[in-house]
Each structure stands twice: as structure tokens, then as C-alpha cells.
């Protein structure tokens, strides 16, 4: 049954990805009106499907690629929805909604949710770890999307090309505000997620976890995040350089995620 809900979520996010186009490029209010219900429907279906999938797998922590991407899609869609309702920044959906669609694909095509049966996955700390880290990732993605929109809008204003397909982009300061707020929201999420992860590793692996490549990369990424926030907050860095910095942190976060392959600590499959 979970497949039905995930596929419904996929369809809703696909339609929302198309509905965002006239809204963002032509400022069409008609399509804009459909966007929120479509997103809400997609988020609802995604939530039900994910819950059923995890329930069937016998754990509440998303661990497989399918579970992780479906969870990430849920958080990304929710964050976009929140930003849209707050700032009416429909252009963010140009990037965020197709990404939600792509993230839902692996789960919606069908998986075997029961293949990861590992006792520690029932641990609440892991749920906190994954939920917060994924939220931080979602915030980082939207921050990068905002930085990209900032660069487009800045270029249009600099070159005085005001019309065209991007004429309905949000104001420059709003985009900058979204980008920075996403970073600020993402940071505590990332910190809590990493702390929860560290606690779990301490319990399961012992003090040696600290030397694990994934853990070391996570610390480096966190420090990079702190430095980026300091630079942006202190010097008011905006535009191209701010976009590069955010991308750097996101790249570091992706590297940390990829480092699962080399980590002995970060393995959720049954031994």
C-alpha cells in the first residue's frame, strides 16, 4: 500500500513541478493557486507512504537509499512550502520541486523495506540524527537554490535586462534573506544531528569512532559551516562569493554523505 502513496506523492510533485513554471515565468496567478494544494497533497501522500514503508521495514529510521531520499524529499517539500507561504518566492520551486520529484523516484519505483533489520535502528537517537541531518541538507539545498536565484536576479539588474522569463523572481533582498535564513536554520539542525550521531557512535563503537573518516569529515564540514556563517554574518557577504561559500559547505556535506562507503561506524546493515 505504501507504494500507492509514494507514487501519488510522485505524481503530485511532478504536477507541482510543471505548475510552478507558468507561475514563476509568467506570474500566472491561476497556476499559483494550484501550487499550494498540490504541494500539500504531495507532502501528505509522501508522509503516509514513508510511514508505511518504515513501519513495514520494522524501524522508524530511514536507512536505505529509498527511505532516505523519500524522507529528504518530504523535508525539502515542507521547507519549500514554508518559504513559499512566508515569502511568496515561487521561483524556488523551479529547482526545489523537480528535486523533490527526483528524490521520490527511487522509493516510488518499489523497494524491499524489510532488508535492513538492525536493532540499533529502533534507537530514538538515530531518528534524531537522521531527521536533523536531512533537515539541514534540505535547508542547504534551498540556500543554494536561493543563491542561484540571487545571482540571476543580480545579473538581470546589473545588465538592465528587466523583462523576460525571470521577470517574476523575488526581490534581491528577499532572496538573500531566504538564503541566509536557510543557513541559519540548517546550522542548529546540522549540529544537533551530528551530536546525536556522535552519541550513538560513542555508545556502539566506543572512543575510537573519532578517527573514522566520516566522522572527521563531518567535523571538518561543521567547522566550515561555522566559518561560513561567521563570514556572512560579520562581513555581510552576498552574491557570488556567498553562493560559492554555500556551495562549498554543501559539497562538504555531500562528501560526508558519500563517505558512508568508507566508514565502519556509519553502517546500519545487520552485522
Amino acid at each position: 500500500m505504501y507504494l500507492f502513496w509514494l507514487r501519488a506523492a510522485l505524481v503530485f510533485s511532478g504536477i507541482a513541478s510543471l505548475a510552478v513554471l507558468p507561475g514563476a515565468f509568467q506570474g500566472s496567478d491561476r497556476w499559483r493557486r494550484f501550487l499550494v494544494p498540490l504541494c500539500i497533497a504531495g507532502v501528505g501522500c509522501n508522509f503516509i507512504g514513508l510511514t508505511q514503508m518504515l513501519s513495514r521495514a520494522g524501524h522508524w529510521v530511514p536507512t536505505s537509499i529509498e527511505e532516505t531520499t523519500a524522507s529528504f524529499a518530504l523535508l525539502l517539500a515542507l521547507t519549500f512550502l514554508g518559504l513559499y507561504l512566508r515569502y511568496r518566492a515561487i521561483s524556488l520551486g523551479l529547482f526545489a520541486l523537480p528535486l523533490v520529484f527526483l528524490l521520490l523516484l527511487p522509493a516510488a519505483v518499489g523497494v524491499d523495506p524489510a532488508r535492513h533489520a538492525y536493532e540499533p535502528l529502533r534507537n530514538g537517537w538515530i531518528l534524531i540524527h537522521i531527521a536533523f541531518v536531512l533537515t539541514a541538507y534540505a535547508a542547504l539545498v534551498l540556500s543554494i537554490v536561493s543563491s542561484l536565484l540571487y545571482l540571476i536576479q543580480e545579473r538581470r539588474l546589473k545588465t538592465k535586462q528587466i523583462g523576460g522569463v525571470f521577470s517574476h523572481l523575488p526581490p534581491l533582498e528577499t532572496i538573500d534573506q531566504i538564503s541566509f535564513r536557510m543557513l541559519v536554520i540548517g546550522f542548529p539542525c546540522m549540529t544537533i544531528g551530528l551530536l546525536a550521531g556522535a552519541l550513538i557512535a560513542q555508545q556502539t563503537v566506543g572512543a575510537g569512532y573519532f578517527l573514522d573518516p566520516k566522522v572527521l569529515l563531518s567535523i571538518a564540514m561543521w567547522l566550515l559551516y561555522v566559518w561560513m556563517l561567521y563570514v556572512r554574518g560579520h562581513s555581510g557577504l552576498r552574491g557570488r562569493r556567498a553562493a560559492y561559500l554555500t556551495s562549498l559547505v554543501f559539497l562538504a556535506a555531500l562528501t560526508v554523505w558519500v563517505a558512508n562507503q568508507f566508514s565502519s561506524v556509519h553502517r546500519f546493515a545487520a552485522p
Binding site: K158, K160, P171, E173, R238
Partner: protein, 445 residues
Amino acid sequence: MSVILAGVNHKTAPIELRERLAIAAGQMEHVTRTLLTVPDVQEAMVLSTCNRVEFLTFQPNGAADLAAFAAEYFAIDPQEVAPHVYVYRAEDAVRHLFRVAASLDSLVVGEPQILGQVKEAWTISRSAGAINSHLDPLLQRAFMVARKVRAQTSIGVSSVSIASVAVDLARKIFGDLAGKTVLLTGAGKMGELAAKSLMHQGATRILFCNRTQSRAEALAERFRCAHGAGTGGQMAVSQAVAWDALHRHAAEADIVVTCTGAGEPIFTPAHARTYAARRKHRPIFFIDIAVPRDVDPDVNRIEGVFVYNIDDLQAVAAGNLAGREKEAQQAEAIIAAEVDRYSRWVRGAHAKESIVSLTQNLEDMRQHEMRRAAPRLASLSAAQRDAVEQMTRALVHKLQHGPIQALKRAAREGDLEALAAIEQMFSHGTSPGGTMPLDDEGEND
């Protein structure tokens, strides 16, 4: 009709050239007087705005080269100016003048300032004694046409003004203007309107900076009285600042509206870099409506600093003109009818002058012949002499009837060749003039 108009405007010349041709207010009379010294220029008016520099002249023979005059006066290579200059003659010149006065040729179609600027140019030319019987009725007519276009079309109502364009752009940068600071340098009307619009959109602090401190203070006081409260009842702060402190206050401003007559940039890239650093790279928006420009174009290269000059605003304004073609067509139809009417009047005035001249010439000839025949008529009685007098008068009347009718017909039909031929036959040698009734009902300006 020997009205000749030459000039450059925002459509034909880049701002770099227009700012080299720009004429400061204090220089206008001198340019006008100098123009009058050009051979064949009998009357002249000089119009210089942000968007155009034009010379309106009356030349009996149409021999003066106005482009060459402009190049020589402003010490610019004639080859550099020539490709950008337009020259209109006779009806085309009248049409162009009417379109300019009615704001159909403006960067922002329908904006109201241009009529005031044409009137100002007319006043200066009149005081310089450069406008007489030919250009004066033409300009009076242009003012009336401008008012008619404004009254009979909604072109002015839906005017996309520089001010509204500035507000739109500011919104694209800042979104909500609430809490924003605006700095207005100079005291141009257009800058004042832009500042006023920005305040209406929520800007809460406006700073006025002028080389003449008292003007800045007067402006600040006027804004305080007129716009004390912004949108939502928020109190707006209006304050005059010293010219010496311009760059300190510019760093505080989110939007700088500048329209001084400085003649050279007062905001350079070095200044802008300082502002950006002091503002922690928060965006700053320069609206430069001065010609010559107040803001160095390189300032726009600095990250977070956006500069829009008068030409840049054109593109934005043009994008906002959709749906106003109908008003523009109505306005053009009014202009076409008025040009035709004016031309008929000029031809009519010309014919009237010719008729008076012709009648006078024939009467002179009759009296001359009567004087010559007087010794031979001395033997006639008074009654007989009176009969001869009556007979010669009747003869002259009959002789002039044909040519007068031909003149009237030629004027009515606009047959300029026939008019010239009849005039030449009787060689009256005077030019038309007079006061044109301003419309069918005799409306006056």
C-alpha cells in the same frame, strides 16, 4: 514655411554624446543669442532637457546648418555629431514640436514635465528677443495642442513616469521599501517626484542634499509638511544634510536619487566601494537622472551597487507601455489634425499678406497714374474728375479680383507653387505673420 528644427534626443544619441551637448540653465540665453548670429536664422529657441537638445529656428531661406552650429558651439567633431542629428523642416518640424510638447516623443510617454520645459525654453528665448511673429504663434499652438492631448486622451493618466519606474526597480532590489532611506541630491523636479513616490511606497527617511543648503532645507520642510506620514501612517523623516557630508550620508542611503547639474560625476567607484563596505554589502541603488551623469558608469560594476541612468530607465519604461497604443494613436491623430490646421493657418496668413500687398500695389499704381494724368485732367470739372476717379477704382477692383481669388484658392488647397507664382507676379516682398486664433472657438492660451 521656413521653420527648421534640428537636434538630438534619447532615441538618436547615446547619453555620452547628449551629456556633451547638454546646456546648463544659466547658459541657455547665451546659446540662443549665439544661434541668432548664424546667417539666415531670424528667430530661435533652444530646448535642453535630460533627453534632448533641440534648436527650433525660423530661417527665410533654410540655409543655416544647425548641426554644424552645435558641433562648433560645443567644440565637438562634426563627424561625431552628424550621424545622431535629426533635422525637420516645415510641417515635419511643426509635427515634431507638437509631439515633444505633448510628451509623445518623451522617454516616458505622457510624462508631464516636458511641457514645462518647453515653456521655460520659450520664456528664455522671448526674453532674449529671439522669438517673434513666426515662432511665437507656433509655440502658443504647441502648448495648446499639448493641453488638448492631455485632456482628450488618457495618455497622461496612465503615464509611466520616471518616478514609477524608479519605484518598480527599487522594489526589485529591496522588495518592501518600508524602513528604507532615500537620499536626494540636487533639486530637479523629476528627482523630487521620484523621491516622493518612494516615500509613498513606504520609504521612511529622506535626506536632501544640495550645494545650496537653504534649498535643501526648503525642500525638506516642504516634504515634512506634505508627506509627514508614509504608508500605513508610519511617520517619515525628512532632513536636509550638508553638501560636505554627502558621502557620509550616501552610505546610509539605500536609494540615491541624483539630479544635480554638476557636469561631472560626483559618485565615483572609489566612493561606491566605501559605501558598500560601510553598508556590509547591503544593496545600494543609484537613480541618476542628471545629464551629464552624476554617477560614474563604472560604479555599476561594484557588487551590490546598482546604477540606472536616464537611458536605462527608458528600457524599463518601454516595457511598461503595453496596452497604451490606443491612447498614443488618439494623441497622434490629434497632432496630425493640429499640424494640418496650423499649416492651413500659415498658408492662409501668407495669402492674406499677399492679398493686402497686391491690393496696396495696385492702388499705388492707380494713384501714381492719376497723379501723372492730373495736368491733363485739369480742365475737367470736379464732377468729371470724380467720375474718372471712380472709373479707375472700379478698373483696379476688377483687375485684382482674379488674382485674389486665385490666392485664396491656392492657400485653401495648400498649393504652395501657385501661391509663390502669384506673389512673384506682384512682388509684394513682405512675409506673413500675425496672431493665429488658438482654435475654432478662439480659445486663448
